[in-house]
Amino acid sequence: MCNKIRTAMYQLRICMKGLLDTVDAIAGFCVVINGKRHLYKKEFCDLTTQQNYRELRDNLANEMEEVPLEYTKQRSPAWFKLRETVKVTGSVAHDSIGLNTLKAQKDYFDSKLSPPKRNETVTESAKQAMEHGARNEINATATLVGKVMPVYYPDFEFHEEGAYLIRNENGKKIMIISPDGTIRNDKRIVSIEIKCPFSSFVGSTPVFYEVKPRHVVQCLLEAHATQADEHLYISWSKESTTVFRMKPHCDLVNSVIQEVDEVYYSSVPVRPTRISARAKSLKMKIREVIDDVEFLGEFPSITAHSSARKHQSDVQNVYILPEKDEFFVNHAVSDTNELMETAHKATKLMTEAYQSQKPAASEVLVYLLSDMNRLWHPEIGHGLPIAYLYKGYSLSMGTSRRILDLVLNACKDCNIHVPCITFDGQFFKIERL
């Protein structure tokens, strides 16, 4: 049994690889159409020379009296200090207002407001997941700038982001939001949230295939804070990266801000004892937001690397400008015939994929033709098989009827009169006659 499954898994792997190559070829051709073939990368992306990538400079604090929040490099001491000034950040907003469970909300509330302050205990798996995310975020960014943007956002530039403040109606700062970046052109801003799933559960997929409910609030807060026109939710794995496009939802964000304000910034914050009505309503809205998300596609992932910079960065600019790429290699397909061949292969692979997903037959349905008096002769069999088919666990009523009609009509053509039909045993086993 296990060998059979392993063979099927091997076939699936080949099919997935072929389809990812197809995506790569179609995307590469798109890039040529967009006139951005210099941005498209195959397996590696040198961020030092990637022309649509803007990295924040590290040493801004030495040159500016006060570094604006949005230019405060993430994971720098200043950024950690900044996060200490508020009770809620974008990544924990979901738990903090009871959108996960009441227990999670209480735990979070206690960690922030109940004296004495508890030491947060992080499990080993959570620690590994965080390290995995921090280590691979740069690879996800490389995939975004080297694969996705040249296709869907050819005229945009990726900007590394610092932090953004969200204030309540009275102007009091209540949340710090740190998007993983934004992509911008003269007219539009798109906020970015990157996730690098790390699951010890064997049955989970390496990337997300829908926006997870626990990430929706964070994504929408980032779109709100950066005043973005849309938001990209990116899920990265070593092999492939999925990309989803979300629209901003002002109503939902305003509800979240009000809830955070009431729970954590009232004159006397009260430990929650039940999930609030607003949180319950937010949960339903989150589901609606997920249904409205657009799946842009799954792209082959690429790995980031940086070469030594040859020039000093411009001190007038908060971003490090990319250097000239002297070793440009064209990876995009521009021959239409070649692309046509790839498209033919894709159709073949899709059919293979469809065949491999069809459930294997688990039962056989046999139609027997029998005499009305089954026991008229003890030495002659009373049931002659006249038709059979293989089936799974499911067979619709309409299909059953059509098959039965076919069998009865065939009997009629042979001048066999069938006055009645009987079935053995329970009705759900009707096909096992």
């Binding site: 389809l19 390496p206 596609g297 015939n337 009523m397 009827r401 079935f423």
Partner: protein
Amino acid sequence: MPECSFVVMFDGKKILPQSADVYLMEQEDPPKLYDLKSKHEQNVSAIEQYKFFLQNVIDSDEKDVSEIVSEDRIQYTIHASKALQATSSVIRELRTSYAKKLLICSLQKRS
């Protein structure tokens, strides 16, 4: 529900075909195979439209993409986006199926 012209027996009792239908429908799973087929047809259709557009480009002797006129470029981008989404959607199904099989293998190993 179409009329059934045959007598239906259940445990030796003659029953109405309609009630047999209801009984069976309660036992049936949702028509997953049908969903699978309709999804497959949608995905293949997106690729076929994309191929049709490419064939037009080839027939017009514009074998290199730089020769495609600007109006066709917009059309190309639309068709290509749909083809990308369709292909990605198949990968998603395969990956989910692969993950399930991996889980079954792992459970079998444990037992």
